[in-house]
């Protein structure tokens, strides 16, 4: 339902529209000097004249962006020079005004719900809404800007690195700030603001530029990302609550990354992936020093990890070998069945219905904390005057595991094996005809993914302290799949984002806990229908889902050839 405004109208009304848009944005900015709420309990205290609360200040950034985006082009094309073309002024102004209206609407709704009725929304709140409506109504009358070409601008290396560092710093600050919210409303309003800023920057062309900068300075990017992730526990002042969430996110993300190899790269739909995680967890639990473990042999954790991974990948082989020969649809249902078999078996290995290995539905509690090379993960310690607790220890460990998985993933992606996988995903028959050994490669992916899950599971067992069969049910597999689908199949960044969203939102929005699954189901359906390539699309993948789109095809081709230009050194005229 996109409203199309004819071009003549856009040309005729471009100045009034610009003026009206600025007026609306000014209204919104002014509104933060007025109280928004009748009582201080809604959001943060928004009851003062002339003293905006932090959330109000954040909100004001969006309309200020609107004003800047609309006002700067007024100096004329001549003075703007190159800047007139390389960034998308009008479309980003449009996005900025829509997003500021959304944030204002979230705030007003939150105030109305918290204080019991719209009557509690004060003048400032209404003014912000009004300004937003005016801006949103006016900006569509601006002519569309062409696609931003900021990414084509050659920038010096120091500027690119600075850009990356600023991005990472913002990420760290944003993550620490967003986790600090206790209240679901504050969280929602801030999250809407963050989404708004991200979308405006994307429209403006900043992300395109950052993408090029990141590709050119890959090492800097990866390194700074890990420095930021590593530094995160220091922002928490020893608070365990957020670190617990953060480490859960990382465990979930590590598992999802494993699934991403299987689903995203090779296109095998594995619906029993959680069983491999469970197999790793149970192996680690049984081999741990827990008083309830049924095997009284407890090797050092390094050995346990390898055994857990091996057990999982053997199970993967057992399931994969018969099913990978037939069509992919069968694999989905057989893995689903395997997940059920796993759960039932773990329940039954209790000494009554089978040998006692898992204590049945009671599982194995009392698993001691990890001990790696004499470092006890259960102990808190103080670094730089900040308490670093048990959860932070596991957080760092998972960070290392994720780093390893990412290294393996990216190297595989560009190797002969990875190319073979992608070929299988795109067209199995063609791949086979080209000499790709499809069965072996599929089996390798399946067993490899299972190995990763086993490794993650062995850490999870120690992190969770106890392992029971009902932690590893089909719904957990569906969650993992949702993380992969939401983020973007086949990309590392996308899956990390997807996993973070799926773990963080339920944690912060307790009130919707009961509707969590309903929304998941809906999300999967809606994503597949409208954006099957996920939030961060893999270029090839995006093309697969939109194969009728010629423009996109050319774009992707150009991108791929320019990205991989270094693979084809220009020798003579033989460049493919």
């Amino acid at each position: 339902m996109r409203v199309v405004i004819p071009n003549e109208l856009k040309i005729r009304y471009r100045y009034p529209a610009r003026a009206l848009g600025i007026a609306g944005a000014v209204l919104m900015v002014v509104s933060i000097l007025l109280p928004w709420a009748y009582a201080p309990t809604a959001l943060d205290d928004m009851t003062y004249y002339g003293a905006p609360s932090p959330l109000q200040l954040f909100f004001a950034i969006l309309p200020v962006l609107v004003i800047l985006l609309l006002a700067i082009p007024l100096v004329g094309k001549a003075r703007l020079g190159k800047a007139a073309k390389i960034v998308a002024w009008n479309t980003s102004a449009k996005t900025a005004s829509i997003m500021s209206l959304i944030v204002a609407a979230v705030a007003v709704t939150a105030i109305a719900i918290d204080l019991g009725g719209l009557i509690n929304v004060e003048l400032g709140g209404w003014l912000a809404l009004l300004g937003g409506v005016i801006a949103v109504a006016a900006t569509p009358f601006l002519p569309d800007s062409p696609e931003p070409t900021l990414y084509r601008v050659k920038s010096p290396k120091w500027l690119q690195i600075l850009g990356i560092v600023i991005l990472m710093a913002l990420l760290l600050f944003g993550a620490a700030y967003i986790l600090g919210f206790e209240d679901a409303d504050d969280f929602l309003m801030f999250a809407a603001f963050v989404v708004g800023v991200v979308m405006v920057l994307r429209q403006f062309g900043v992300f395109g530029w950052l993408g090029i900068a990141a590709a050119a300075n890959n090492r800097v990017l990866v390194l700074s990302a890990f420095v930021v992730a590593f530094a995160f526990p220091f922002t928490q002042n020893g608070s365990d609550a957020n670190m617990s969430v953060a480490s859960q996110v990382l465990i979930f993300a590590a598992t999802a990354l494993g699934l991403n190899i299987v689903v995203g790269l090779v296109g095998l739909l594995d619906l029993g992936y959680i069983a491999f995680l469970g197999a790793g967890a149970f192996t680690a639990a049984i081999l741990s020093e827990s008083a309830f473990s049924t095997i009284k042999w407890s090797p050092p954790f390094i050995v346990t990890v390898l055994i857990a991974g091996t057990v999982s990948s053997l199970l993967g082989l057992l399931i994969g070998a018969p099913t990978l020969r037939v069509s992919g649809d069968y694999l989905a249902i057989v893995t689903l069945a395997f997940g059920e078999i796993f759960r039932i078996t773990m329940n039954n290995l209790d000494g009554n219905d089978g040998p006692n290995l898992t204590n049945g539905s009671n599982g194995i509690p009392g698993i001691p904390d990890l001990n790696l090379f004499g470092f006890d993960f259960g102990k808190a310690h103080v670094i730089l005057g900040i308490d670093i607790g048990r959860f932070a220890n596991y957080y760092w460990l998972m960070l290392v595991v994720i780093a390893l998985i990412i290294v393996v993933f990216t190297n595989l992606n560009h190797s002969r094996i990875g190319r073979g996988w992608v070929a299988i995903r795109e067209d199995e028959l063609a791949a086979e005809a080209m000499g790709v050994n499809t069965f072996t490669l599929k089996l390798l992916a399946f067993a490899g993914g299972a190995f990763l899950a086993g490794v993650a599971g062995s850490v999870k067992a120690h992190y969770d302290v106890s392992v029971t069969p009902d932690q590893y049910v089909f719904l957990e597999s569906a969650f993992l799949l949702a993380a992969v689908v939401l983020g973007g199949m086949g990309t590392v960044m996308g899956v990390l984002i997807g996993a973070t969203i799926l773990k963080l939102l339920p944690e912060k929005l307790r009130f919707f806990a009961d509707y969590r699954l309903l929304l998941f189901g809906l999300l999967m359906v809606v994503m597949m229908r409208f954006r099957p390539e996920g939030i961060v699309p893999d270029e090839r993948r995006q093309l697969e889902f939109h194969d009728a789109d010629e423009e996109l095809a050319e774009e992707v081709e150009e991108d791929l050839t320019s990205h991989h230009a270094h693979l084809n050194p220009e020798v003579g005229g033989f460049v493919l």
């Binding site: 649809d329 069968y330 395997f338 039954n348 219905d353 998941f520 189901g521 597949m528 889902f545």
Partner: protein, 318 residues
């Protein structure tokens, strides 16, 4: 009880359980035969059939003192029709809004959508069924209405005791099988279905409305699943929002066992699966493992006879 009687008792149990699987399996097989889609949400359509029948019973004023003949001849058919209406409506909606837009998408997309639909339908019933005024909360199991003359009633044949609900399930399967045979082989839509499953493009050229045929396939599958839902309610005495998951999985196994895409195969596969499960639980002991046998059978079939017992139309379509 002597050994022969025990065997026949288990055989009858297995056949009635198998009829239940068969009724659901037909839905998988018909849809797969035409659009090559594993409709994961079909188990939920079965569950919705049961809840629809329950809702019909509530609307009728929870009649429990009707005489046995009146219940069997009037109450039960009305409940079944209510269930069929509910599940057919839901199946057509999912087809229209979730699957149809993805018909030309890569194969992974509709599979993931189907999982989403499945989770969504389960949760929808769990959260909102109780919001209908006067209806019980569906967050835990609901006692299925007892139909006088069927619920709890048994007949004795020789040394074997047969539940009336088992008789009902078997009879329903026989009736549905005959109906299916007639529908597929003798009606225009049925023949269009065969044509579409053989070659959708040519079928379209011959003037067949493929969209309508696909809707008909979803509707037929949903109708049979609703009957299975009622049979399940009568057999176990209660229904819950999760009941479609395991039943759907088993029914899919049955469809693969018989040869997916083959309607007679689904019926035979269902019956075989039911009997194997029932006999395995008796003779191999350990009823705690009974759900495992079906899946072990599924894996064995895929290894040794991927085309199924009666042969599938499409086995390996990459």
């Amino acid at each position: 009880m002597d050994l022969v009687n025990l065997f026949f008792q288990q055989l009858i149990n297995g056949l009635s359980l198998g009829s239940l699987y068969a009724l659901i399996a037909v839905g998988y097989t018909v849809v797969y035969g035409i659009v090559q889609l594993i409709n994961f949400a079909h188990g939920e359509i079965f569950m919705i059939g049961a809840f629809g029948a329950y809702a019909t019973w509530m609307v009728l004023g929870q009649p429990s003192d009707w005489s046995a003949p009146l219940s069997i001849l009037v109450l039960l058919p009305v409940m079944i029709i209510g269930g069929i209406v509910a599940s057919v409506a839901v199946a057509l909606l999912t087809e229209r809004w979730a699957y149809r837009p993805l018909r030309n998408a890569p194969r992974l997309a509709p599979l993931i959508t189907a999982i989403g639909v499945s989770v969504f339908l389960q949760e929808f019933v769990r959260l909102f069924y109780g919001y209908i005024p006067g209806f019980p909360d569906a967050k835990s199991a609901i006692a299925f209405p007892s139909v006088p003359g069927i619920s709890g009633a048994t007949i004795q044949v020789g040394g074997v005791l047969i539940q009336m609900s088992a008789v009902f399930t078997l009879a329903a399967l026989v009736v549905c099988w005959v109906f299916l045979w007639y529908y597929v082989n003798r009606t225009k839509t049925g023949r269009a279905m065969i044509a579409t499953s053989q070659d959708p493009d040519t079928a379209r050229l011959m003037g067949i409305n493929v969209d309508k045929v696909i809707m008909a396939a979803f509707a037929v599958g949903a109708g049979l699943a609703a009957i299975a839902g009622v049979a399940h309610g009568l057999r176990y005495g209660n229904i819950d929002f999760k009941m479609g998951f395991l039943a759907g999985l088993k029914a899919f196994t049955a469809a693969v066992l018989g040869g997916i895409g083959n309607i007679n195969g689904a019926v035979v596969g269902g019956l075989v699966l039911g009997v194997v499960e029932s006999l395995a639980a008796t003779y191999l002991g350990a009823s705690a493992w009974k759900d495992v046998w079906a899946f072990v059978l599924l894996i064995l079939v895929l290894v040794f006879r991927p085309q199924g017992l009666l042969g599938a139309k499409v086995v390996d379509r990459a």
